[in-house]
């Protein structure tokens, strides 16, 4: 009787070990792997962090349009001091890279183009783009705008001093007056100053115009601020 009991207990224990042992082996395998890879674990994790993102990548070539035209007489400004209008930064939707946030018009040069934030392929395929390392109109700094010379900025060849450049955005309409044009090397960093503490517009495209091929020269058009709401930055940002 007791021998039968013993046998049954033995059988039960054996059956359990077919579940417990594989689980222990599984844990042991990963523990061994962890110990073996511990020295390079942080490197592996940071590499994986770079390779993988939180969501799936969007491969669509569409762009987001946040531009809602405002009429010249509409009042979006929060403050008016003399001739100048001011708008609070919290009241504007700051564009993200690739967003169409306005349009750029130079009537004298027959230029009327969508204005993007960022000068990537999608932006320059559909219009002209503000270099993302520069600033948006109204920010009181340099706005560097690029475009292809065979498409939207072909008309820049007609640019002359005194012509007016209009930039329309959802938070206000801006005017700039062309002050100068110049042909410079593409890698000439003195062609513009991104650290300037005054509002100025720099537009550039490849030069010469209407030539087949790529060139290392750029045609720069410089314009000064005339009108448009000035963005009031929060004090925390360090005006």
């Amino acid at each position: 009787m007791s021998e039968n009991k013993n046998r049954r207990r033995h059988k039960k224990a054996d059956g359990k070990s077919f579940i417990i042992l594989p689980i222990i082996f599984f844990a042991g395998t990963y523990l061994a792997l962890y110990l073996a890879l511990a020295p390079i674990f942080s490197t592996l994790f940071s590499a994986a962090g770079m390779l993988f993102s939180d969501g799936e990548k969007d491969y669509s070539t569409d762009y987001k349009n946040i531009f809602v035209p405002v009429s010249d007489d509409s009042d979006l400004s929060s403050d008016v001091q003399g001739d100048k209008q001011y708008i609070d930064i919290d009241k504007i939707e700051y564009p993200r890279y690739g967003n169409q946030f306005g349009e750029l018009i130079i009537e004298d040069c027959e230029i009327e183009s969508k204005l993007f934030f960022g000068d990537g392929d999608v932006a320059l395929r559909n219009g002209v783009g503000v270099y993302s390392g520069s600033f948006i109109p109204g920010y009181g700094k340099t706005i560097l705008v690029a475009g292809h010379n065979n498409t939207y900025f072909n008309g820049l060849k007609y640019a002359q001093e005194g012509q007016i450049v209009v930039i329309r955005t959802s938070y206000g309409n801006y005017e700039y007056k062309i002050t100068d044009t110049a042909v410079k090397k593409a890698n000439d960093r003195s062609a513009y100053d991104l650290n300037a503490d005054y509002e100025n517009l720099v537009m550039y495209t490849c030069y010469p115009f209407d030539e087949l091929g790529l060139t290392s020269y750029r045609f720069f058009v410089y314009a000064e601020y005339v009108s448009g709401p000035i963005i009031q930055k929060n004090s925390a940002e360090g005006e």
Binding site: R7, P22, F26, F52, E56, D121, E211
Partner: protein, 280 residues
């Protein structure tokens, strides 16, 4: 119940450790075999490219990039419409991968591309009677187009990890042989050293079941969590190819895991039969 003698306990512990090592080796063997059959197998890479529509997507991507170049250089969109085709991309990719896996480097030969581009450009200039052409600008355009083509075909990080990948690939047959040998030796020792053969079967069965669980965890996590789809790749063609190839590799690991599970279960039933015989 009488206590087991010390020697018997030590023997049991040694057999358990051997069983664990067998499980670990089976785990490593599974991954080594799957890596050899997938990542280090040019035929697998190429068939994954074909089944993920890599060449069609790549053609579209290169055409779009070249068309953008056209906007900057004065070439019409039509010029690039059928300039690159799937066959050209497929041949150049094949050559690139062959050279890579043969250890000849990651250089993509664009001589043919440059010649075709130059020829097509000449035809375009003549056809449109374009006079405003500068030799230097034309050269820059051809070089830029070739650079776009070369960069589009290159697999990111391939060149960076080239030495690791190639060393691993070369070492893999040796590693597989060694792992197989270790498995055989452990099984042999377990069978020979156990007076009661059903015990040896038990240890081997547990090792197989442990390896089945261990190997299944990683691919199951990757497939269920959808982590693979979160990879950051600039090219959609490459992304689709990566998803296809890595999913196939995960499925291959799962098949190996299933095989180990079935082997483990088979051995379990064998153990029961042998145990019953011994008990009776």
């Amino acid at each position: 119940m009488a206590k087991k003698p010390l020697l018997s306990r030590i023997r049991n512990a040694v057999f358990l450790i051997m069983s664990f090592i067998l499980s670990l080796v089976l785990f490593l063997l599974t991954f080594s075999i799957v890596l050899t059959a997938t990542v280090f197998n040019i035929d697998f890479i190429f068939s994954s490219m074909n089944s993920s529509n890599y060449f069609v997507d790549k053609k579209d991507e290169i055409t779009v990039s070249l068309t953008d170049l056209g906007y900057a250089s004065g070439l019409d969109e039509e010029f690039f419409e059928d300039f690159v085709d799937e066959v050209m991309i497929s041949n150049d990719t094949k050559e690139y991968l062959d050279n890579y896996y043969a250890g000849k480097g990651t250089v993509i030969d664009v001589t043919q591309f440059k010649q075709s581009f130059n020829q097509a450009l000449g035809g375009y200039i003549e056809e449109n009677n374009i006079k405003n052409v500068n030799g230097e600008s034309r050269e820059m355009l051809i070089n830029k187009a070739a650079q776009i083509y070369r960069m589009s075909l290159a697999v990111p990080l391939f060149s960076k990890f080239s030495s690791y990948i190639l060393s691993a690939k070369d070492a893999m047959p040796f590693a597989v042989s060694v792992l197989v040998l270790i498995c055989i030796v452990i099984c042999f020792v377990l069978v020979k050293a156990n007076k009661w053969k059903h015990r040896a079967v038990k240890y081997i069965s547990c090792a197989a079941l442990g390896a089945a669980v261990s190997t299944a965890v990683i691919p199951l996590y990757l497939l269920i969590s959808g982590k693979l789809t979160h990879i950051n790749l600039a090219s959609r063609a490459l992304y689709n190819f990566f998803i296809r190839a890595s999913s196939d590799a995960c499925v291959a690991i799962l098949f190996c895991s299933l095989f180990l599970l079935l082997a483990g279960l088979g051995l379990y039933f064998l153990f029961r039969r042998m145990h019953q015989k011994v008990s009776s």
